[in-house]
Symmetry: C2
Subunit: 201 residues, 2 copies
Amino acid sequence: MERPYHHGNLRSALIAEGVRLARAGGPAAVTIRDLARATGVSPSAAYRHFPDVDHILAEISRTARQELATAMIDACRAVPGTGDAARDALSEFAAMGEAYIRYGIAESNMFDTAFVPCEAQPDEPESPSAWEVLCRALDDLVEVGLLSAERRVDAPLIAWATVHGMASILSRRAIPDTSSDEQATWAAVSAVQRALELPGE
Amino acid sequence: MERPYHHGNLRSALIAEGVRLARAGGPAAVTIRDLARATGVSPSAAYRHFPDVDHILAEISRTARQELATAMIDACRAVPGTGDAARDALSEFAAMGEAYIRYGIAESNMFDTAFVPCEAQPDEPESPSAWEVLCRALDDLVEVGLLSAERRVDAPLIAWATVHGMASILSRRAIPDTSSDEQATWAAVSAVQRALELPGE
DNA sequence: TGTACATCAGTGAACGCGCGTTCACTGATGTAC
DNA sequence: TGTACATCAGTGAACGCGCGTTCACTGATGTAC
């Protein structure tokens, strides 16, 4: 079967292959020429759909951030409900933190890609957004009375920094600590709980 | 005045110029050819002193980590003593955390360089080492009775992750939070204090 | 329904760039006698 | 103290590579009449 002259869906195909490249080799592995090879098209064809390589990378980076947010949402949904709203909100919040770190470790190249500095902006903002997911979970904790309004102010920043820092450290093996990934993940999650003055489990 | 045929100190000059390049443009800006231009030498001269560019980058990265550790030590020393050992240990610990984040913001390219993934190993380990500096500060907190032995176990990991995460976020402007850098820095430092169950100021 | 033609999405060759690295070499240095 | 010579630290030209991007082009598609 002959490849048709018109690809039909080159724009999405370029992004999809770009995600594959980024997953395997990080943001630096995303090149026009590899993209063209992977989609079976000449390098110049990409310029029908994007002004330059940076705009393709911006879309791939957005996809990475969406994957991260989706991992958090999935982990949240996987928490079995107990009927106790407060208890559930707490478990869900913890599950999301764990999911963030696990994603950083398991998909370290995509994790790097998600936060790569990039001149171009994606066409539309990421959806779902991990930041919004986090903020909603914190609102839940306020609602069930576990998080004070005062602590709520800095809470997203604190939670994100802790969990993001741990994910970075573990995914790069940047630190001479000898804990297992599981220990370290739990250490970060419980550190956030204490920092936000949430009741322990 | 003629440049002499022999440079005399090319190895250190390459590292010093490499640090300038990295400070201005991050690890990707460190190239053999720019290094040669900056030191006034032909590109191949570098190969008398390093097997490849990655080994030069490893030395520059080590320098960046040493700068970070030095910033922490300096901040620690700048804390005026009160005669109250416990109080001083606490202030010094906080000052070190602030210094870490401030370095990450002020020297974001060097901060990236410090943690760049690098095949090659530096000739000798960094000295001072930020990790050791952190561990010593935590030992001080144990000694004055502010940090429990139990909390001491995960403490370096927790402290590093929080402060490293906040430095990464702020230096990349990765997050849609609107706090000032100072607010965010303090939020991270005080989050560590609560996570380690240290008494507040 | 058939056909001319505008529009769109590709091709492929080429440009210029900067990179890391190699290699035969040369100029300077220092050491043995 | 002077000199032959080994050693060291540079030079500069070249190689091959892969990159992003441009440009004149061509094949396919769809629309107006």
